[in-house]
Subunit: 376 residues, 2 copies
Amino acid sequence: MAPALDAQEAPNGGESLTPLQVQNNNASHKSKVTIIGSGNWGSVASKLVASNTLRLTSFHDEVRMWVFEETLPSGEKLTDVINRNNENVKYLPGIKLGKNVVADPDLESAVKDADMLVFVTPHQFMEGICKKLVGKIKRDAEAISLVKGMEVKMEGPCMISSLISEQLGISCCVLMGANIANEIAVGKFSEATVGYRDNREVAEKWVQLFNTPYFNVTAVQDVEGVELCGTLKNVVAIAAGFVDGLEMGNNTKAAIMRLGLREMKAFSKLLSPSVKDSTFFESCGVADLITTCLGGRNRKVAEAFARNGGKRSFDELEAEMLQGQKLQGVSTAAEVYEVLSHRGWLELFPLFSTVHEISTGRFPPSAIVEYLGTSN
Amino acid sequence: MAPALDAQEAPNGGESLTPLQVQNNNASHKSKVTIIGSGNWGSVASKLVASNTLRLTSFHDEVRMWVFEETLPSGEKLTDVINRNNENVKYLPGIKLGKNVVADPDLESAVKDADMLVFVTPHQFMEGICKKLVGKIKRDAEAISLVKGMEVKMEGPCMISSLISEQLGISCCVLMGANIANEIAVGKFSEATVGYRDNREVAEKWVQLFNTPYFNVTAVQDVEGVELCGTLKNVVAIAAGFVDGLEMGNNTKAAIMRLGLREMKAFSKLLSPSVKDSTFFESCGVADLITTCLGGRNRKVAEAFARNGGKRSFDELEAEMLQGQKLQGVSTAAEVYEVLSHRGWLELFPLFSTVHEISTGRFPPSAIVEYLGTSN
């Protein structure tokens, strides 16, 4: 237990606690936060969280950030530069993270004292990370996942929050929402949604940790719905990017986004009947879909893919355009396709399945609108 | 009654009808269509309808279009030019409407034989037009309104479809949806929703009249919900335009659009409790909102308004930017504000009320985001 002022040791000799003493006394319950991941969104999340841990007495000031170590062209280690300059020069250049963000290249050391674990890595790394964390975290730690995507296993799709809960034996909320990280980083107003299963109090703590005057966070009791929104919207963004690349105009793009939202809702409810319609009107639903289809990287690379008539692969364009960031939409589309095909649902989801057929080169980009006239 | 082959006069002497005979026989029931209005959207509607009346035997080929007569700079009458060139050179230049579209400057003559009346004028003209039509139309005519907006009267707001029904004693459906008319005009894919009250058969007939391979129309039994979507989205588009003019980025714009959709839903359900949540997932809801907030004229003029810091009025910008087209969002915002203020609902609708306060110059454009941090 961390050292703390006991009421009997206080200068006034054990009277009722003053606000200052309450604050000091609460030090024993201050939650330590670790961010697992340090890409573009992970860095922005660190900045948001670090501004709140300084401001709120229920959190330790220091925010530890696990960084997958890289050697920069200058020969320096990325963690050394982050800790010296308070800036992730590779994934969020020009933005100060806060002096209380400490980069740590050692995963085990980064998590060992943490009460609150924020997962924010590309989804394909999550299974390996969870395996490494087994037995290394506090037993009563709480987790939240900002990761978009799912793992497809023999027994069916597994959402990242379930993967974390199952592998680590802890409960896990999700936070999804507007993901144009660079806009949040410079304080432009945006929103996000926390999805929780049953513990409203824990959800409120996550809201406190992330909410700022320019980043408006609300909680809804629908962890599956929120997480599936955050995951599936990237598939729709690929479709929207194709429409942009084909220069088909805003009406067509809006139609594709609407049909995409409808497939998101239908797919989520088939996978998880508890998913609520109202979740799709939250920030994680329609707002994040709009943001992602207007400005996200999935849309951008898909636009380039369509402009090149599908002749340059997504891997090639991703490497060229994203400076090491990962594209989630294409791999999510592949995973969704596997689920649809395994369950015999392909014909129910023409948009989702067509995105996969196009991104793997089986259909031309123009196929994205060819089924539309027959769809209702 | 129009002359038609009677079964007894048919070559086979009154046996069961062949498909050809059915077609001929139906000639007696061919519906005549008149479009009341000839602006940008009215011209596109004429083009869509005219392609279907030629193709489908249940409609008369000729589509009459009432045109508010204007003298062009060349000295010619607008109707003469439309009838000579099949083109509305003023409001939809470069697009052929179809040779079966006949422009008529005389309202009474345009409607007198019509079985199906399509209303598509700026909403502020609708009350006057309805007054002129009393007693001049067929008693069993059916109407559909493509008009966005409402009339605010002493007894409360009155939607355009109700105005038509009440003044003319006929039933009225509505058609709302993607309204970037120029994109539809060149055959880019888009969607629309027909809202009907109880007669599914009539709704299907309107769907037939408007649906094309690139304009996908579906019908839902929620005339109020569909009409309010089409009306209220223009207020949200004004807000989206302010955000664009202030260069606040896509996250903020998506947040504004989401909050706008939420106010659209809440306002509609307060006015008309039968309105369905599912209507807001239709083309008239989320898709049209997206289209209008990405590319519509309300957005465009509001962007210019914000860029000028509110120093040039909407009237001035409208005159300069829209070549005679009318801006619905600002007047709808004023009407909505009147309803909200009359019923004591202003605080429930911060986005709607702020749009009106900004457009009338009481608040600066930046006010559009100032309440957001406190809104959920």
